[in-house]
Symmetry: D3
Subunit: 134 residues, 6 copies
């Protein structure tokens, strides 16, 4: 199994609901350094898993929808806690949707699965991984 | 599949038995930077894999039992080489035991598996992973 | 010249004023991974620059005043842009004030200067350094 | 499951064929920081996955064959694009061959699988993993 | 003294002349992860050292002139060894020239000095620093 | 001013004397990841600060004297606490002595100063810097 990984980041404000979260119930924010891993069992005709420049652009486009925003005001996330693991799933779903829509080209139909990791600090991160079902 | 990861560290002295280990047969020591990854197939009602603050406390408690000690004098490790991979398993077992005993709360029953990685330097690390059987 | 460095982090929300900031004029947020470097020309009687555990506690206490907050609502920062470099200076000043007040003990009178670095992502950081004038 | 990981690097020149690659069709180069992960379900009699010093030597020997070379002139790679993912597979195959030939000793017969990751920059990396079939 | 730092990278081929360089006399290559630090004694009216987005663009523009090239064929470097420290100076000079030409705006006249660090691997890097003389 | 940096590591056991050190008064240990920075105002005839391969060998030789040892038993350190900052100075002095003795060649006479940084974990490090007086 092959994989490629590209890294980018986004910066948001949010707050959490629930006693579990303690002081993180207050409006605060985070930088998320994001790793997108794309997996495939065989290389394509160019000897790549996927055009890495296009993968980087795709990730940048997905993160641009979230970047420099207050997630508490995003209708998509109403009633949810936008935790690191929750956001990892959001980024995964949006990446998967764009891949299925052809953002990485026809060759990307061979992609098997993906993993999205969000680093919230030097001591904590979270991830979501699953099949890409292209 | 979701995962969350917390990082901490501990510092110990030890020596190894066996010609394989060369100069590491002498009493020396190591800093282990430890990553604890907890995995789960669905988020709980708070939209988290687990309360990350409690996961960090749990890891800190487990490492405190090892921190600032000479492992050659620990009865638990008699007759064993406390290699990085061996210690990754030790930390895994102690984390798993505390999780089963409720250290992460009732919700943590949904945890699927875990991975413990011990970094011994910038060029070497080892890990143990397995099911959590909560 | 000797130096010691401790690392911690804090997470805040804020927004910026001025066309220069583009989309960062919207309410967003950041994780700041903070390095505090303390410098001294000679070691004290314990062969340390400063008790590193107390230095870590001091940094934690200073960051706790900022952590999990919306900086736009902090009276101290009214009319200012809480940029990474501005916040590096804020953390520096608060550390210096506590050092002068004895938070690191009498021995810390020998400290010469300090540097505070705030990492806002894997590709951008800022710092402020100056004498400690203990 | 246990794993150990050793890190090393190599530096090469190459060029790519195909419009997909844009300016990377020109002769350029890369530093690859390489992580070799070896996995095993049980520790051996020394409480290790494998002698980590020998694993580091093995990786160094494999990378020495590639280091400080122009890959466009290597007969083994004729007609292929020596992308990061392609080279991860090359390193994997050469490691596996040496492991099967006994480079890690008889105990290494217990190795289950391996993963080779090549970091080409702070924002991009690729990997190949598979069974070791010792 | 304040400083801000932005990070980017470029990938080149080159060879070295002189017995000192051993196997690095062969055509090979490198990824250079580049840190550009800009220093200033006071913040400007926006509370910044410099518009960090413009600093990142400036660095990207300078590195684009070198990226994906064989440095042995660049007339500017004829008769020189394009070592990491030599290239750090080249990047510094080109950054300084653009700053003086106004690439960072009028406010950047307040910049004091700069440092350019080129990381060639996880175990080696080099830097050049000097006044910016704006 | 130019600088080059090489990284290596060593692993030791030790204990500290003095109430300040709390549980670190027990025999424990550390991995120190070491950065050696060498500075010079002009490049030599090969366009380098110093032969980086020889600098790496020099650092390796100095660290080999400390590696895999119990520092409590080293006569050189009797009556001292082998803290991170103390050891940074020890490594600095041993490097400087070898440089003066010609370990980096005649060209190294042009070296100006050096800095030795010892990383004891992902959240703490210490350094010593000074002139090389070659």
């Amino acid at each position: 199994m092959y994989s490629v990984n590209v890294r980018d980041h986004f910066m948001i404000a949010h707050s959490f609901n629930g006693d579990t979260f303690g002081p993180a119930q207050r409006l605060h924010g985070a930088t998320y350094v994001v790793d997108l891993e794309l997996r495939r069992s065989a290389l394509d005709r160019d000897d790549v898993v996927v055009d890495i420049a296009r993968a980087a652009e795709l990730l940048r486009a997905v993160l641009a929808e979230l970047n420099f925003r207050n997630l508490d005001e995003q209708p998509d996330f109403r009633g949810r806690n936008t935790t690191t693991e929750f956001l990892a799933h959001v980024v995964f779903d949006r990446v998967a949707e764009r891949v299925r829509a052809g953002a990485l080209g026809l060759e990307a139909a061979g992609l098997d699965s993906a993993k999205v990791t969000l680093h919230e600090s030097h001591v904590a991160w979270a991830a979501y991984e699953g099949p890409l079902q292209c």
